[in-house]
C-alpha cells in the first residue's frame, strides 16, 4: 500500500516530521515501510506555457514550436504531439528534469519539452501533450505538487483494516508525532431515503448505505485528483469513479457508483447468488456464481459481486447523468472466499477481507458528497441517506491492571499516565483508577484486531518503543532437558557415516509420477499434493530411492566413484489419518569401473557397523534392482532394510550399491551392552573344515549348518575362504572349541570334529 506524504499531512494538524523520516517512524511503531520515494519533484519546475507558433518540420511528424514559458522566457521546442498547435496552453519541462536535455532533433535545436499527462505523472493519458483551459505562462501546474510516497508492506497491515486508508495511517503518524488528527465530518442533509435496501443475510452484510445524485457530469477529474490517485498507484478514470477510489484510499472504505438509470426496479437487494447465476463485471468478464458468493442485485439480477467488483451494464459511462453511490460493509471471510474462488483480487476485496469498520460507510458518503460537488459542478443530491445497518456485537470494554501491563512488557517503571496518554492518542477510551484500567475500543479497531488485554500490550509497547525496554535475563529453573534418544541416535549415525567416507545429501520430500513409476512404486500408495505449482511435486515420497537414483546419475557425470547418504522421512498414507513418517537411511557406494562386488560388500560392512549382528538374506529383486544382487538385511529375525545394486538399466554409467535401512526398526532392535562376561582362562583348540558345495550354495547357509551341528563347545565358527576348481566349489571354515572351566582333551576335540564331519558329509556330499 502506497501512502502520499502530502495526503497524510492534510489530515494532521501541524505535522513537522520531514518526509524522509516518516518511513522509519512507521516501521518502528506501526508497520513495515518498504521504501520512501520522491514523487513529482519536477512539479517545482514545470510551468504552464503558451505555444506561440508551431511549424511542421518537412518529412517528419514533428513540429518546431516557439513557446512562451513565462519564468524561463520564450523557448524553441521540437514537439511530436498530434495536438500541438499555436495558441494552446500546455506544460513546459525545462532541461534537467524528467530526463529532458537540450538537444538537436532533426537538426533543429530543442530547449526543453512539451509534456503529456503521462510524462508528467498525472495520469495514463499519452495521446498528446497536456492541454489547459486556462493559466498564465510561467505559472506552476495547478493542483500538482511534489510529494513523497511511503510504501508499506501489505502483510504487515493484515490485522489493521483502518490502515488501508490515509486517514487511518495519519492517525498513527499523528500519535507518533504528538500532533492532533483532523476529524472528517459525517454529516448529511436529512431526506427520504433515495432507494429501498433489502439485506437477506445480516451476517454477510451488516450495513449497506447509499446516496443518489442527479445532474451528474462525467468528465476527467481535476489534475490534483488525478495526480493524487496516480501517486498511490490508482489509475484516474473519470471524476465519478475517481471519487470512489479516492475515498477508498483515504478512508479504507471501498465504494461503488452505479449508473442509476441502468438499475431496474426501485430496490437494491443484497443476497447470495443462485447456483450458476452469471454476473457480467465491469472488467469485461462474466463470472458464474454460486451460493457462496454474495451479490448486489436489482430487479433484473446481479449488478455487482459484493465487495469484489461492480457490474458491467450499470457502470459509469460518459452518458451517465444520475448515480447511486454505495458504501457498504461485508463479512470478511465471505469476501475472501469469493475473491479466492473467482481468482479476482481487487483493491476492494483486499480491504474488505481485513474486516472493515461498518461505522465508516456514512462518513465516506458524506465525504463523497463534498468531493463530488467539487468535481462535477451542478451535481445534486436526491433525497437523503439510504442506510440499512445491523450493528455488530459490541466489543466489551477491556480491563487490566497497570501491574499486569508492567509485567507483560517487563517495564516496572511504567506509569498509569503514560498508558493513558498512549491509548488516548490512538483513540481508545480510557478510564483509570488506582492502576486499574477500563478501555473501550474504537470501532475501526474492534472488528477483529483488538478484543483482549494482550492486544493492548502491543499498543502500549510499540508506542513506548521496544528499544526503551531494558533487557532482563529470564529467571528459569535449572533442569537438565531430556535429550530425545532419536535425535542423539541420528546424530551419532551421521558421524559414523561421514567417518566412513559418506557425504550427506538432502533431497525434497516430493517425487513425480514418472519417478515413482520407474521404480515400480504404486502411484496410489502416495499422498498426493493437490495444488503443486511446479512439475515434480505431485507426490510425497514413499521411498528415498527415486531421488537418490537421480543423485547417483547426476554425480556419476562428475565422479568416477563416490559415496553418499541421505537420512530422510518416507511418508506412507494412512487414509484420512496423518500419514506415517518413517526415517530411513539410504547409503550409496558408486564406481564407474569394476564389477561392483566390492561396493556391495562395503555396504554390507556398513550395515554391520550400524546394526551389529545383522545378517543378510537373498531376496527377490524388485524391478529396479540387479536380479542377482539384492538382499534383505535382517536384525533379530526382522527385516530392517535392503542391500542391493541398482539394475544397470537404472544406472548406466557404473555400479551403484545401495543400503536402505528403516531407522525406526534399527533403533528398536538395537541392544545396549549388557553385563560383562569374564575373560576366558583356559586355552582353546581350533580346526579347519572344508565343505564341497554346489556352485551357488550360500556361505551363510553352510555357516549356519556348521554352527548348528558344532555343539555347545564351539565358541566360534568362521568362514575362511572359498575355492573354485575343476572339481567344483568348496568353502573352508575354522571352528574354535573351548570350555569355560577346563582345557579340552585331544579326545574331546576329535570326537566333536568327527561328529561334525559326519553331519557335513551327510548333507553336502
Amino acid at each position: 500500500m502506497k501512502f502520499s506524504y502530502n495526503w497524510l499531512a492534510e489530515h494532521i494538524d501541524g505535522l513537522t516530521v520531514p518526509p524522509a523520516e516518516i518511513g522509519k517512524l512507521i516501521t518502528m511503531k506501526t508497520a513495515e515501510c518498504e521504501g520512501v520515494e520522491a514523487h513529482g519533484a519536477h512539479f517545482d519546475h514545470v510551468v504552464v506555457a503558451k505555444v506561440l507558433t508551431a511549424e511542421p518540420i518537412p518529412g517528419t511528424h514533428l513540429a518546431v514550436t516557439s513557446v512562451d514559458t513565462g519564468r524561463y522566457g520564450v523557448k524553441q521546442v521540437v514537439c511530436g504531439a498530434p495536438n500541438c498547435r499555436a495558441g494552446m496552453l500546455t506544460a513546459y519541462v525545462p532541461p534537467g528534469h524528467l530526463g529532458v536535455t537540450t538537444a538537436k532533433l532533426r537538426g533543429v535545436d530543442s530547449d526543453g519539452m512539451l509534456a503529456s499527462a503521462k510524462e508528467l505523472g498525472i495520469s495514463a493519458e499519452d495521446e498528446g501533450i497536456i492541454e489547459f483551459a486556462e493559466g498564465e505562462p510561467g505559472a506552476a501546474i495547478a493542483g500538482c505538487t511534489a510529494d513523497t510516497i511511503v510504501e508499506i508492506d501489505n502483510k504487515s497491515l493484515t490485522h489493521r483494516p483502518d490502515l488501508w486508508g490515509h486517514h487511518g495511517m495519519a492517525r498513527e503518524v499523528a500519535a507518533i508525532a504528538g500532533r492532533p488528527l483532523k476529524s472528517i465530518p459525517a454529516d448529511l442533509p436529512e431526506g427520504a431515503p433515495a432507494v429501498e435496501i433489502e439485506i437477506r443475510d445480516a451476517k454477510l452484510c451488516p450495513r449497506f448505505s447509499a446516496l443518489r445524485f442527479e445532474n451528474v457530469t462525467v468528465q476527467p477529474s481535476p489534475l490534483w485528483l488525478q495526480q493524487r490517485l496516480e501517486s498511490v498507484g490508482l489509475n484516474p478514470i473519470n471524476n465519478i469513479v475517481d471519487v470512489t477510489n479516492y475515498l477508498m484510499a483515504e478512508l479504507a472504505q471501498p465504494m461503488h457508483a452505479y449508473d442509476a438509470a441502468k438499475l431496474q426496479g426501485g430496490k437494491i437487494i443484497v443476497r447470495v447468488a443462485e447456483e450458476g447465476e452469471p454476473c457480467p463485471a465491469l472488467n469485461g468478464q462474466t463470472y458464474t456464481l454460486d451460493s457462496s458468493n454474495l451479490v448486489i442485485a436489482d430487479a433484473g439480477g446481479p449488478v455487482g459481486i459484493a465487495g469484489v467488483i461492480g457490474g458491467g451494464p450499470s457502470a459509469i459511462s460518459d452518458a451517465t447523468t444520475t448515480i447511486l453511490l454505495e458504501a457498504a460493509n461485508f463479512h470478511a471471510a465471505s469476501i475472501r472466499k469469493t475473491s479466492t474462488k473467482l481468482k479476482l483480487r481487487t483493491d476492494a476485496s483486499m480491504r474488505f477481507e481485513k474486516s472493515q469498520d461498518p461505522v465508516n460507510t456514512v462518513r465516506a458518503l458524506a465525504r463523497a458528497k463534498w468531493l463530488l460537488e467539487q468535481v462535477s459542478p451542478g451535481i445534486r443530491l436526491v433525497g437523503g441517506l439510504a442506510d440499512l445497518y445491523y450493528p455488530l456485537p459490541e466489543v466489551a470494554p477491556i480491563s487490566f491492571d497497570l501491574s499486569w501491563m508492567r509485567r507483560k512488557l517487563g517495564k516496572p517503571d511504567l506509569t498509569a499516565a503514560e498508558v493513558t496518554a498512549i491509548l488516548t492518542s490512538i483513540a481508545f477510551g480510557v478510564s483509570e483508577a488506582d492502576g486499574h484500567f477500563t478501555v473501550t475500543v474504537p470501532s475501526w479497531r474492534a472488528t477483529k484486531d483488538i478484543s483482549l488485554k494482550d492486544d493492548l500490550v502491543e499498543e502500549v509497547g510499540r508506542m513506548i518503543g521496544y528499544g526503551n525496554l531494558t533487557p532482563v535475563p529470564p529467571l528459569v529453573p535449572s533442569v537438565v532437558p531430556p535429550l530425545p534418544p532419536e535425535r542423539a541416535y541420528l546424530r551419532g549415525l551421521r558421524q559414523l557415516l561421514t567417518a566412513q567416507g559418506y557425504t550427506e545429501v538432502y533431497n525434497y520430500s516430493f517425487v513425480n509420477e514418472a519417478q515413482a513409476t520407474e521404480l515400480g512404486l504404486p502411484i496410489e500408495d502416495h499422498v498426493r499434493v493437490v495444488n503443486p505449482i511446479a512439475q515434480g511435486q505431485e507426490l510425497l515420497r514413499t521411498s528415498l530411492l527415486p531421488n537418490i537414483k537421480r543423485n547417483i546419475n547426476d554425480n556419476a557425470r562428475e565422479y568416477e566413484s563416490f559415496r553418499m547418504f541421505e537420512i530422510g522421512k518416507e511418508i506412507h498414507a494412512r487414509g484420512q489419518e496423518l500419514p506415517e513418517e518413517i526415517p530411513h537411511l539410504a547409503a550409496v557406494s558408486f564406481e564407474r569401473h569394476g564389477d561392483g562386488v566390492a561396493n556391495l560388500f562395503e555396504l554390507k560392512r556398513l550395515a554391520g557397523t550400524i546394526a551389529p549382528s545383522c545378517t543378510v538374506e537373498p531376496a527377490e529383486a524388485r524391478p529396479f534392482e540387479h536380479p542377482f544382487r539384492s538382499a534383505k538385511v535382517i536384525l533379530r529375525n526382522e527385516a530392517i532394510g535392503r542391500l542391493f545394486e541398482f539394475h544397470p538399466a537404472m544406472v548406466e554409467t557404473g555400479r551403484a550399491a545401495v543400503l536402505d535401512l528403516d531407522l525406526v526398526k534399527v533403533q528398536a532392535l538395537r541392544t545396549a551392552a549388557g553385563k560383562y562376561k569374564p575373560l576366558r582362562r583356559f586355552p582353546t583348540s581350533a580346526f579347519d573344515l572344508t565343505v564341497p558345495t554346489a556352485e551357488r550354495e550360500l556361505a551363510g547357509t553352510v555357516l549356519g549348518f556348521i554352527r548348528e551341528h558344532a555343539g555347545s563347545l564351539a565358541l566360534d565358527v568362521r568362514y575362511l575362504y572359498d575355492y573354485k576348481g575343476d572339481k567344483g566349489r568348496s568353502m573352508t571354515f575354522r571352528i574354535t572349541l573351548g570350555a569355560p572351566d577346563r582345557t579340552l582333551t585331544g579326545d574331546e576335540v576329535t570326537a566333536i570334529r568327527s561328529q561334525l564331519l559326519a553331519a557335513v558329509a551327510a548333507k553336502y556330499q
Binding site: 470478511a332 500490550v457 502491543e458 510499540r462 531494558t470 535429550l483 545429501v505 538432502y506 510425497l540 496423518l578
Partner: protein, 340 residues
C-alpha cells in the same frame, strides 16, 4: 707336529673367512672346519695318540683355534646379516607423498551442521528438542495458531494441500502446540525441521526449507526477557556481540508480535548493500505467545505467559557460507556438498 698342523689350519681358515663373499660360502667353511665332522674335529680325534702332557698343550691350542675361528665366523656372519637388512630396508623405500589409498572422510550437510550447533546451544540453556511431522493437520498448522479458515494471514503462507485433506506444514510453529501438551508448563523447547511453501523456486526462493521454532513458557515472561534472550542467543550463534531491535510485526499466534532485526554484521549499522543502506537486517519473527494458543496447548494464560520465535536455519546457512543460490542446498551435487 699337530701343533704345526693346527696353526696352519687356523691361519688358512682365517684367511678364507676373510675372503668369502657370500653367507653360503661362510657356512660351508664353518661346516668344513668347525662342523662335527670338520677338520678341527679330525684333529681332536688324533689327540688320543698323544701323551697326557702333550694332550693338555694341544687341547689348549685346539680350543684357542676354535674360539678364534668362531669369532671370525660370527663377525663375518653379522656383517652379512647387516648388509642383507640394509639392502632389504633400501628396497623398502616408500613414497609417502603419494595419496593414501582407501576412503577419506565424508561430509555432513551444512544444514545438519548448523542445526546441531544451534541445538547444542539451546540444550545448554535447558531447552528440550522436539520433532514434529512434515505432514500436519490444517488445525495444527493454522487454527490452533489462531489462524482460522479464510483468515487473510493464510495468504502469507502459500500452502501445499494434500489428497488426504492435510497439508505440508508451512512453519515449525505447530510443534508449539504439540510441545505444550507434551511438556506442560513451565517449559523451554525448540523444534527444528523441514517446512514447505508452495512457491516458485529460484536462486533465493525455495519451496522446502528449514526453520527452528523456539518457545519458553513460565510465570511472568515479558518482552524485556525476550529481548535479553534473543540478544544472548544471537550473539552465541554469530559468535560476536550483536545489537537487536524489535519492531511491530503481525503473526496471529503471538500478541504482541515482532520483527526482530539485527544490526548489519557487514557494515555495523553504517549502511551497505546487504542491509539496503538501512543498517539493519530483518532476521526473525517473535512475540509473546497468544493467549488462545496457550489455551489450546492446555496452559492457563492468566497464570503463565511465554515467548516464541522462529529462526530460519536455511537463511543462517546461506549467511554463514555466503551461498548465493538456495537451490544448491537440496540439489544433491557432491561438488557443492563436499565443501562443508
Amino acid at each position: 707336529m699337530i701343533e704345526t698342523q693346527l696353526s696352519e689350519l687356523a691361519a688358512a681358515t682365517e684367511a678364507r673367512i676373510a675372503a668369502v663373499t657370500t653367507a653360503d660360502e661362510l657356512e660351508a667353511i664353518r661346516v668344513e672346519v668347525l662342523g662335527r665332522k670338520g677338520k678341527l674335529a679330525e684333529v681332536s680325534k688324533d689327540m688320543g695318540k698323544l701323551s697326557p702332557e702333550q694332550r693338555g698343550v694341544v687341547g689348549k691350542l685346539l680350543n684357542a683355534a676354535k674360539q678364534t675361528l668362531e669369532n671370525a665366523l660370527t663377525a663375518r656372519k653379522t656383517a652379512f646379516e647387516q648388509a642383507a637388512l640394509a639392502a632389504r630396508l633400501d628396497r623398502e623405500w616408500v613414497d609417502l607423498t603419494a595419496p593414501a589409498p582407501g576412503v577419506g572422510l565424508g561430509s555432513l550437510h551444512p544444514l545438519t551442521q548448523i542445526q546441531a550447533e544451534i541445538e547444542d546451544l539451546f540444550v545448554s540453556l535447558g531447552f528440550t528438542v522436539l520433532d514434529g511431522p512434515e505432514v500436519e493437520t490444517e488445525f495444527n498448522n493454522f487454527d490452533a495458531l489462531n489462524i482460522p479458515p479464510d483468515h487473510p494471514a493464510r495468504d502469507m503462507q502459500d500452502t501445499f494441500w494434500l489428497s488426504n485433506g492435510h497439508l505440508l506444514r508451512t512453519h515449525t510453529s505447530p510443534v508449539q502446540v504439540r510441545g505444550m501438551k507434551k511438556l506442560g508448563p513451565p517449559l523451554r523447547m525448540i523444534a527444528p525441521g523441514r517446512v514447505f511453501r508452495n512457491e516458485e523456486v529460484d536462486a533465493s526462493h525455495e519451496h522446502t526449507f528449514y526453520q527452528l521454532e523456539g518457545m519458553m513458557v513460565d510465570k511472568d515472561v515479558s518482552v524485556a526477557h525476550l529481548i535479553y534472550f534473543m540478544k544472548t542467543l544471537l550473539s552465541a550463534i554469530f559468535k560476536r556481540d550483536v545489537t537487536v531491535r524489535l519492531r511491530p510485526g503481525y503473526f496471529p499466534f503471538v500478541e504482541p508480535g515482532f520483527e526482530l532485526d539485527i544490526q548489519c554484521l557487514i557494515c555495523n549499522g553504517a549502511g551497505c548493500p546487504v542491509c539496503k543502506q538501512s543498517g539493519w537486517v530483518e532476521l526473525l519473527p517473535c512475540g509473546l505467545v497468544h493467549p488462545n494458543v496457550l489455551r489450546l496447548g492446555g496452559i492457563d494464560p492468566e497464570e503463565y505467559s511465554g515467548f516464541a520465535f522462529g529462526l530460519g536455519l536455511t537463511r543462517l546457512v546461506m549467511m554463514r557460507y555466503a551461498i548465493d543460490d538456495i537451490r544448491q542446498l537440496q540439489g544433491g551435487d557432491l561438488r557443492f556438498l563436499t565443501q562443508f
